[in-house]
């Protein structure tokens, strides 16, 4: 309970009809038998599954606010691509360095590790790194914005006005976030492959074609890529919307919502990565 309450002096108690000076002590709150710690919070907690379902409902019934959707696609999907592709290109170069190092140690030609490099990029690095970048860029953007809307009571106002939050607010962000994740993963494969291949060509005399070779790539690899990209694309914006709604109204809400949105999104990306990788390991 609060402990910053002013101490209750004797002066104010039991005074007669004469008005006390302006700075009167507040009466002490009554102690009661009700254990307030056990009571649920008056503010309803946001429900992630309900948010996701209502957004899907809004999408399928065509109620999604087109203008908001276009704006979010531009802001979340397209504006996230440069940083995502840049990061993937960096990772492509780092991976190529490791591959070249291993090839030298094992006395095999650089071009022989190329296809394996590309396979690892598709299976693991493109989806994982693009997922983390999307969690940072898209997740922080959504969480900060929704957090600000909760902090300034815009969410409350929309709810009271009977507006469809799924169609106007959550839906466009969830859809644009999914698009951002899928685009970043797909284009990220190309960015990492070409960056690594060009780097190999420039520094060690490798061939670009070996580093973007589809020789080892099978249906399983594409399935891994697609499943991971979609899982990140669903989890990251959802975690961010949830964090914004849950924490935005609290003190320091915008900052707390932003960092919680990023952290939870990143963890979901990594958890989905492990779960999907392990599942496909067991599949025939």
């Amino acid at each position: 309970m609060r402990d910053d309450r002013p101490a209750n002096g004797e002066a104010g108690d039991g005074a007669s009809g004469v008005a006390e000076p302006l700075r009167a002590p507040l009466p002490e709150a009554k102690e009661s038998a009700v254990r307030t710690a056990a009571l649920p919070d008056a503010e309803p907690r946001p429900n992630g599954a309900a948010i996701a379902l209502s957004a899907v409902g809004a999408l399928l019934s065509g109620r999604l606010d087109r203008e908001a959707l276009a704006e979010q696609i531009l802001e979340l999907a397209l504006r996230s691509l440069p940083i995502a592709l840049l990061c993937l290109a960096f990772i492509g170069v780092v991976l190529e360095e490791h591959a070249a190092h291993e090839a030298r140690r094992a006395f095999i030609g650089l071009d022989q590790v190329g296809p394996m490099f590309f396979q690892l990029t598709i299976r693991e690095f493109a989806p994982a790194i693009s997922g983390i970048v999307v969690a940072a860029r898209v997740g922080s953007g959504i969480a900060a914005e929704i957090g600000w809307m909760a902090q300034t009571e815009q969410i409350d106002a929309l709810r009271l006005l009977g507006r469809d939050l799924a169609a106007d607010v959550y839906g466009p962000r969830l859809a644009a976030g999914l698009l951002a994740s899928v685009l970043a993963a797909l284009l990220g494969v190309a960015a990492a492959g070409f960056a690594g291949g060009l780097w190999a060509h420039a520094t060690a005399g490798g061939h670009l074609a070996a580093f973007v070779s589809l020789r080892l790539i099978g249906a399983r690899d594409w399935l891994l890529l697609a499943a991971k990209a979609v899982a990140s694309g669903v989890a990251v914006p959802l975690a961010a919307v949830h964090a914004g709604l849950e924490l935005g109204g609290k003190p320091d809400g915008v900052a707390r919502a932003t960092s919680a949105g990023v952290v939870r999104g990143t963890l979901w990306v990594l958890a989905a990565d492990v779960a999907i990788g392990a599942t496909l390991w067991w599949l025939p």
Partner: protein
């Protein structure tokens, strides 16, 4: 003509940005000699202890990811004996520091940037300056060096946890005998294999600290600026960490 102008403007902006970071680093290095020890400890508990659960979780997941990916190859070439070495080597050199830094750039970077922006929005920084307090020594330097020290400590923890997680994942998910896994780890891993990882971690820590402080100092000092600081910090730390990773992998 127009694209040329754009390139010129972008490179000027880049130079100006690099200069600002260098100045900030220099200022805070000088201030480090006389910084507030209590604030350093407090910042370390925020950047270190509070982040520990997140770091443990990411390290566990990373260990599992690396072993699963290595497992695909080991199984197809039938050389199970290499699994322990492969995952250990990859984890220590590359993935434990990288993933720890990526996770921290979200948590610490966003938190620190919005914290500093909040101090400015609440007019606490100007108030301290007006009182004649050296803000660099009292507030900024402790935050920067706390992140650096915390990232180093967390990398050590992440290395350990990720190795254990990779062992568990290898045994439970891939069915590799634990003895073979450990033997392969022991035979080929040296303590110095972890060294490049720590060098990277030190640079990552510095980058996270600098980017987040700069983001917090450069946004407008109001409520919306706090959210903007967090977002800007997350993106710039991410880019800095990955660029450093690329540069350092080439050197080390």
């Amino acid at each position: 003509m127009k694209p040329l102008l754009g390139i010129g403007r972008a490179s000027l902006r880049l130079l100006r940005g690099a200069g600002a970071y260098a100045l900030l680093l220099g200022r805070l290095a000088v201030a480090a000699r006389a910084m507030d020890g209590r604030e350093l400890l407090r910042s370390m508990s925020v950047a270190g202890t509070d982040v520990l659960p997140l770091c443990l979780l990411t390290a566990t997941l990373t260990g599992a990811i690396v072993v699963i990916q290595t497992g695909f190859y080991v199984a197809s070439y039938g050389v199970t004996s290499l699994l322990g070495w492969g995952s250990g080597y990859a984890l220590l050199r590359e993935f434990a520091p990288l993933i720890a830094a990526l996770a921290l750039s979200g948590r610490v970077g966003a938190g620190q940037a919005s914290d500093v922006a909040g101090l400015r929005a609440g007019e606490q920084l100007p108030a301290l300056e007006a009182l004649g307090l050296d803000v660099d020594r009292a507030l900024l330097a402790p935050r920067l060096w706390a992140v650096l020290l915390s990232v180093l400590a967390l990398t050590a923890v992440a290395d350990l946890v990720a190795l254990v997680a990779s062992l568990l994942a290898g045994v439970l998910l891939l069915g590799v005998p634990p003895g073979a896994f450990l033997a392969s780890m022991q035979a080929s891993l040296r303590l110095r294999d972890a060294l490049p990882g720590f060098v990277k971690a030190a640079f990552f820590g510095l980058a996270i600290g600098l980017c987040s402080l700069r983001a917090g100092l450069s946004v407008p000092a109001d409520a919306r600026g706090i959210g903007a600081a967090a977002r800007r910090s997350v993106v710039s730390t991410l880019a800095a960490v990955l660029a450093l990773d690329m540069a350092l992998t080439g050197i080390l």
